[in-house]
């Protein structure tokens, strides 16, 4: 166990209690209740149907894909799937809420309790409970600063399907909150129910923050709305917790309220300063019937799930011998894990070696060489100039001794830059490793003859000089000498 994260106040340490409501946009072509498109960045009001604009007499019809993705997501977080759920109206007025209500699921969500295991610093793990997941409509967008006189309203997002995923108040530090969002994002991206793109608003979090002294009951919480990056989530939590601590230590009390995080100032501020308390007047949407499906539907969705990140990491560690650290890195993004597995598969085929024998080398190569190069080039595995097949060819050449590890690094650099295959480069540059003992013996004999002083010192006990002889041999062979063969020959020769 790690020690409890606390913030030190004038009266001593304070614990944080954090719960998150993540809004994740469902990957779908059309909206939750209308056939309008969902693509990001379109012309204003160009992806708006008469239903989204809440024209009189317009009615919602649910998108089956959104139901399917909500169920898949529920299954991926090990949650209870409710085969009977219902849509309610949440009534409030706002310029970007055309109906005057949001269609959401209040009393009977499609997904109930589940859990997510998060990874923390130092390899620690923690289980965070999920309270529920429900489907609801997104609102439109209000632009307050584009016109001197008006707020401008774009309804393109109005009606886009969101999954609201509500955690239990199980998190205790900004890092845990960030790890939770990161893990949730990974899972959603694995199963393809949300693209997790926080910059485009496909994923955003409402952060519930309260503070208490160790052992005390839960304090009053504030909800910070719509925080849209991992960094902001952590900043907002620290600011908000400190704000609450200041109030409490000054003898005040916390008002339960909704607050907004200002990334520019790094502060949260109250959103409803002069507005009355909301009364959402939830009631079942009479335009819709209860959402029902059978167990066979749920099982079909279960069968459609890919291997999930936790299971994949377990397999990498336990069956393939990949280090826990590398496994964590590899599974964090599904495309990276896929790249790794494709490369591993090709290496196994090319070398004929058992998978478990080569998996470590492949994992090392991908997490350090490939990711290093991709990072530097600002690319990702999906845009990588070298394919898993090309990587496998390079690794096979190294594993069968055709090229040395050092040469392999150069070849990879060349591959990355030129797009040529490993064998082409090795061939063209004559980089094949020299393993011929006769050829190497001649070179070594010459080095020993040319460096009598060093030989004498070595034989006199300065064994460190062995490296000098290896270096000389490598230099003489242009780095192509097989290091193992060189080692053996040198040992014999120097033994005199």
């Amino acid at each position: 166990m790690t020690t409890t994260y606390t913030i030190e106040g004038a009266t001593g340490p304070w614990e944080l209690v954090l719960g998150l409501e993540v809004h994740a946009q469902v990957i779908s072509n059309s909206k939750l209740f209308s056939g309008a498109a969902t693509a990001f960045g379109a012309e204003p009001n160009s992806q708006v149907s008469l239903v989204d604009a809440a024209m009189p007499g317009m009615l919602p019809v649910i998108n089956g894909e959104c139901v399917r993705q909500a169920v898949r997501t529920g299954l991926a977080i090990g949650a209870q799937i409710n085969t009977w759920s219902r849509f309610d109206r949440k009534n409030y007025f706002y310029a970007d809420l055309p109906q005057g209500y949001q269609i959401s699921q209040y009393q009977y969500p499609i997904v109930g309790e589940g859990e997510i295991t998060i990874e923390l610093e130092g390899g620690h793990k923690k289980v965070v409970g999920i309270e529920r997941l429900h489907l609801e409509q997104d609102a439109g967008k209000s632009l307050h600063d584009q016109h001197p006189q008006f707020t401008l309203v774009d309804l393109n997002r109005s009606g886009v399907a969101l999954m609201e995923i509500v955690s239990k108040p199980d998190m205790r530090s900004p890092e845990e909150a960030a790890a939770y969002v990161r893990k949730l994002r990974t899972i959603l991206r694995y199963i393809g129910s949300c693209d997790g793109n926080m910059e485009e608003g496909s994923m955003r979090a409402d952060v519930n923050v309260s503070v208490r002294k160790a052992g005390d009951p839960l304090g009053t919480r504030c909800e910070i709305k719509n925080v849209n990056s991992l960094r902001f989530i952590q900043q907002a939590i620290v600011y908000e917790a400190s704000r609450q601590i200041d109030i409490l230590e000054a003898g005040g009390k916390i008002d339960q309220e909704t607050r907004l995080f200002d990334p520019g100032k790094g502060e949260t501020r109250s959103m409803r300063s002069k507005e009355e308390a909301h009364d959402y007047r939830y009631f079942p949407d009479p335009d819709l019937l209860p959402l029902e499906f059978d167990d066979a539907f749920v099982e079909a969705q279960r069968a459609s799930l890919p291997e999930l990140p936790d299971a994949k990491a377990d397999r990498l560690i336990n069956e393939l011998g990949v280090s826990a650290y590398n496994a964590g890195v590899l599974v964090a993004e599904r495309e990276n894990a896929d790249f790794f597995e494709a490369t591993l598969d090709a290496v196994t085929k090319a070398t004929g070696k058992p998978t478990a024998d080569v998996s470590k080398s492949v994992a090392n190569f991908i997490t350090s060489d490939l990711f290093g190069a991709l990072n530097k080039a600002g690319q990702s595995t999906s845009t990588s100039p070298v394919s898993p097949g090309a990587c496998a060819e390079l690794l096979a050449l190294q594993l069968d001794g055709t090229i040395s590890g050092r040469i392999a690094k150069d070849v990879f650099e060349d591959m990355f830059a030129s797009g040529k295959s490993a064998s082409e480069i090795v061939e063209a540059k004559g980089l094949k490793q020299v393993s011929d003992t006769g050829e190497l013996q001649a070179i070594i004999d010459k080095i020993i003859a040319d460096n009598p002083a060093q030989v004498e010192q070595y034989r006199g006990g300065r064994e460190k000089l062995f490296g000098f002889f290896v270096g000389q041999t490598m230099k003489a062979t242009g780095g192509k000498a097989n290091p193992q063969v060189v080692n053996e020959l040198l040992k014999t020769a120097l033994a005199g």
Binding site: S30, S34, E43, A53, V61, E65, Q149, L289, P290
Partner: protein
Amino acid sequence: MRDFPTYVGMVMSIDLETVKKIASLARITLSDEEADPLKGELNNILAWVEQLSEVDTDGVPAMTSAVETSLFQRPDEVADGGYAERVLANAPSAEFGYFAVPKVIE
């Protein structure tokens, strides 16, 4: 806010302040001259619907729909939208393809 009873069985009478609170939730400006008679009418109606409290509804499920049919699920196709001009055709005020409303300070 006062503590409101959550059961039927007690004739509740709403006062002017409550009428105004409801009107503000419903976003309807009410003058005092309008609110006062409305208060009486609303109270009459509420007192009249109060008779439902006589009905024993223990164990009775609330009606969720007047139709016995299952919810139709649409295929995920882009089959609508793409007509900003139709969406904006009746707008009292529009600017640059957006609906325009009095400036909101958040």
